[in-house]
């Protein structure tokens, strides 16, 4: 039950404080009550128990991957 998954924001309804999110064809409506940083359509948010917890940081994800990749290149060079 503690599972939280990243899902893409498809639309936002500020009046109801909900967003429609989707990952791999699975669609959900999530509450936006506790998300600290407003998400926009196209962002990924971490979804847990019907609520968006946090926006995923794209640059940070790519930066982490870059570090992994650099490690790989170092070994092969």
């Amino acid at each position: 039950m503690c599972l939280a998954v990243p899902m893409e924001v498809k639309s936002i309804n500020t009046e109801l404080n909900v967003a429609d999110v989707e990952i791999a064809g699975v669609k959900r409506q999530v509450r936006l009550d506790i998300i600290d940083y407003p998400a926009s359509v196209g962002d990924y948010v971490i979804v847990h128990a019907g609520f968006a917890l946090r926006r995923l940081d794209r640059e940070d994800a790519l930066e982490t991957l870059k570090l992994f990749q650099e490690g790989l290149n170092l070994q092969f060079n």
Binding site: M1, C2, L3, A4, P6, I23, A24, R31, D33, I34, I35, D36, G42, D43, Y44, I46, H48, A49, G50, F51, L53, R54, L56, D57, R58, E59, D60, A61, L62, T64, L65, F68, Q69, G71, L72, Q75
Partner: protein, 367 residues
């Protein structure tokens, strides 16, 4: 334009070539035996599912900690929610995992439902509000389990219930806080671990600061990490690095999801609705300031006081060693009941019930 995080970006965190590279580095740099504990049940499952457990060097011993919300729900709390289910005019709203957790007499919510109790499985605390609206003649009791990840979602729901004047919505607050449980665990002289992998999504809420004592007072390297194979491997490399330098630290590897100060808005909502209280944990007993009780004007949503039910400090079920498993003192397959009288189809204890339980993970992946 900034590149998007796409499913492809996320998939790269499973990249086999990168995983192999990190595994090779772990093998090359491991300075000696290393026992690490992952606190979160989702990490337990991720480690098995990705096959990492069988790929890691034998010198690395992997323990599972008290981070499955269903598993740490105390025997007395299970007895109390079964009692709530039997009250007149009550509908229990619960996450599905609690349905099969056996109570003191071996009964579960599932059996209570078969006997005629009204129990509804919900996906979110918010869904329980819809039930309260649909059944104004009944009292809806939401079973609030989970750690700092889940507690703010329940707090936000209670706030909405108050705003909407939903008098028939009640909560049995069993939420638990991770840092006090880790402190209790590390004070136990029988618990031996070299490093901690900290729960990623609890950390999205609480941030880095509440874990500092792990490194500063206990000298245990502790890494907040994500749930993909690359995340976990990188966490292990960070641990190895700290062992080599002899400088234990708390490091946030999962910065794409965890800000160093966590989610202040979620914590604010949590602090408005709940107050920190003592809590009973399965296997760990009573831990001071490790739970959340309803606070101030929100106390009227408390299911226990409204319906006159108390949580008793009941003993463990006979023969069940879930407590030792949760403390990393016993591997699931060393429990005398494991895969004999205790299986996912006939669970004796909660570690075999929940999909995030370490016994269930062992049964599914390691047998």
């Amino acid at each position: 334009m900034a590149p998007k995080t796409t499913p492809d970006t996320l998939a790269k965190f499973k990249d086999p070539a990168l995983c192999r590279n990190l595994l090779d580095r772990i093998r090359a740099e491991l300075p000696g035996p290393l026992a690490f504990m992952e606190v979160c049940g989702t990490h337990t499952v991720a480690i098995f599912q990705s096959g990492l457990r069988s790929l890691l060097p034998e010198e690395i011993r992997h323990l599972s900690g008290p981070g499955c919300p269903v598993c740490v729900t105390h025997e007395g709390e299970v007895a109390a929610f079964l009692e709530l289910a039997r009250k007149d005019n009550v509908i229990i709203a619960t996450f599905g995992d609690l349905m099969r957790v056996p109570g003191p007499k071996g009964t579960s919510l599932k059996q209570a439902q078969a006997e005629g109790c009204r129990i509804e499985i919900v996906y979110s605390a918010f869904d329980a509000l819809a039930l309260a609206r649909k059944h104004p003649e009944s009292r809806i009791v939401f079973l609030g389990v989970g750690f700092e990840t889940t507690a703010p979602t329940v707090a936000a729901t209670i706030k909405v219930a108050k705003e909407q004047g939903l008098e028939n919505f009640l909560v049995f607050a069993m939420h638990k806080l991770v840092p006090p449980a880790l402190a209790a665990l590390l004070q136990d002289p029988e618990v031996n671990l070299d490093a901690l992998i900290l729960p990623g999504h609890v950390s999205t809420i609480i941030g880095v600061e509440p874990y500092r004592f792990l490194a500063e007072q206990h000298g245990v390297p502790s890494i907040i990490t994500g749930f993909e194979p690359l995340d976990i491997l990188q966490a292990l490399l960070l641990i190895i690095d700290q062992r080599k330098t002899g400088r234990p630290q708390v490091v946030n590897q999962y910065s794409r999801a965890v800000a160093d100060d966590g989610n202040p808005k979620a914590r604010e909502i949590m602090a408005e609705v709940f107050t920190v209280s003592d809590a009973l944990w399965r296997g760990l007993g009573r831990i001071p300031d490790s739970g959340l009780a309803l606070a101030g004007e929100y106390q009227r949503f408390d299911a226990l006081t409204t319906l006159g039910v108390e949580v008793q400090d009941l003993p463990p079920l006979p023969g069940c060693r879930c407590g030792d498993v949760l403390k990393g003192k016993m591997q699931p397959n060393n429990c005398p009941l494991f895969s004999k009288s205790c299986t996912p189809a006939t669970p004796v204890g909660p570690c075999m019930v929940s999909t995030e339980g370490s016994c269930a993970a062992y049964y599914k992946y390691a047998l």
